[in-house]
């Protein structure tokens, strides 16, 4: 987890969130599979990794009270599977911030690596936030 909160104003193109590392434990995978009502296949579901990476980053950004953040779109590319128990490293940065009236569209770029520093997945998430 990042050790400090990021202010919303800091979220400008080029900003890099502090990287996060996470062990994809059997209990994490089991909880995820239960939540998505799915059976496992021996690997960590790639979208479990994405979900963790996005949540770990976005919760470090304190939003004004009574405001909401909405996931508007998602792009992903998978490069390899990750066995249960592996540790991943997530890197997320701000690619674009677009103001549209009272809303901002924050486009985040995501890269996840395994413990051997091989890329596991990359992608872009567009989050709609209050401007």
């Amino acid at each position: 987890m990042p050790d400090r909160a990021t202010s919303y104003e800091e979220l400008t193109p080029g900003y890099k969130f502090p990287s996060t590392t996470f062990e994809l434990s059997a209990s994490f995978v089991s909880k995820y599979l239960k939540a998505v009502d799915s059976e496992g296949d021996g690997f960590v579901p790639p979208l479990a990794i994405t979900a963790y990476a996005i949540a770990a980053t976005t919760k470090s950004v304190p939003l004004p009270p009574d405001t909401i953040a909405i996931h508007a779109s998602q792009e992903l590319e998978f490069f390899k599977t990750v066995p249960i128990g592996d540790t991943i490293e997530c890197h997320i940065g701000v690619l674009q911030k677009i103001s549209r009236g009272k809303m901002s569209m924050l486009i985040l770029e995501l890269e996840v690596f395994d413990k051997g520093k091989e890329k596991v997945q990359s992608g872009k998430a567009t989050i709609a936030l209050p401007a």
Partner: protein
Amino acid sequence: MLTEIQEGKVFDPVVKHITQENINLYAEASGDFNPIHIDESFAAKTPIGGTIAHGMLSLAYVSEMMTSAFGQNWLSEGKLRAKFKEPARPGDTLTINGKITCLEQRDDVSYANCSFECLNQKGEMIVTGETTVKFSSDSK
């Protein structure tokens, strides 16, 4: 897994019922405790009018359909582009449909380009998008 990879091939649909319990479990698993997903009194006061499922929860169902169709090829070499059109809410039943729209060959590698849509029980589009999967020509 698909026994034949050909244009127009329709995948087995995935049907899931969304409950607040699923959403809460997903919040715990992912660590995404945004109140719009889990705090019913907060969500009721927003323009959305109630709690909604995480977009990534709906995408997990898309990934389940793609894994059923392509197995390891999807998990290790898949690509996805998705747009969240409407929120999925507790009580909704989501149906995820998909098919192969075209096959292509680039640098001696075969790709299946697919489309998908996730609809609720009213027929409203919740998520739409495209996927691409690399596969061995032997599996055609």
